[in-house]
Subunit: 156 residues, 2 copies
Amino acid sequence: MKPPREGEVRLGYDPALDPQAGLHFVGVIRSDWAEGTAPKNLRLSREQGGGNARIEMKPEFAPALAGLKAGDWVMLLYWTGEARRDLLVQHPRHAEEPRGTFALRSPARPNPVALGCVRIEGIEGTTLRIDATDAFDGTPVVDIKPWIATVDAPAT
Amino acid sequence: MKPPREGEVRLGYDPALDPQAGLHFVGVIRSDWAEGTAPKNLRLSREQGGGNARIEMKPEFAPALAGLKAGDWVMLLYWTGEARRDLLVQHPRHAEEPRGTFALRSPARPNPVALGCVRIEGIEGTTLRIDATDAFDGTPVVDIKPWIATVDAPAT
């Protein structure tokens, strides 16, 4: 196990070893990004062309796509489970000082469910082309939800 | 098991019985809402005063809150695991016709991780008062993330 970085605080246990609910992946993200070299966030991915991003759904979930179409913005939930799950305070390279995990978008978190708003560019069978992703090729998909301003953005 | 509603399409298995990753809850939502009577979404909750909404974190996650403060908008992820997980096409009362689960925000979905953007009103110890929730009292919390426009809203 790697030694803690300066300023890191760790939980006394690994949340992965005490599951209280189970996820069943519904598909996989395809992209030109590899683990370790993927852009750090969606904005940077878009600046780099989006990464040829697609969502490949498991075939049995095809009926659940009914109603989605090109041009729709959706919330994509995906599993960044390669990262460690016991970091409470961490010090990302971009930050001046350590911060709590819940004040960061770091993939290293107790439940590594990442989240991003992406646009559907086209649907062919059970593959959805999307405008961009920061996920590396093969990242499991947890959920897709239609983006709704009154739910997913600050209330005005 | 209840018979399908008109227009419903079901998966041939229960995703809950084939877990591929585990969630470990980090806290619980407190509210005045009860199961079955909670408002259907965040907008309706706000119209009803918000429901006296709070997030009670497990004490061991206290350090992970460092950096969050009153006035911050965060993405709250929570587990609506009471709902069935095998509906591919469903017909909510508000909709004119059946739609695929991934084109709906229904709590009944393969991975019932609900999502909403809420404002932190205050933090006392490991309790965060938030402006509103549509979750009933006792709903498990999966994650808290700072809301970031370039990630959580349509790109402009």
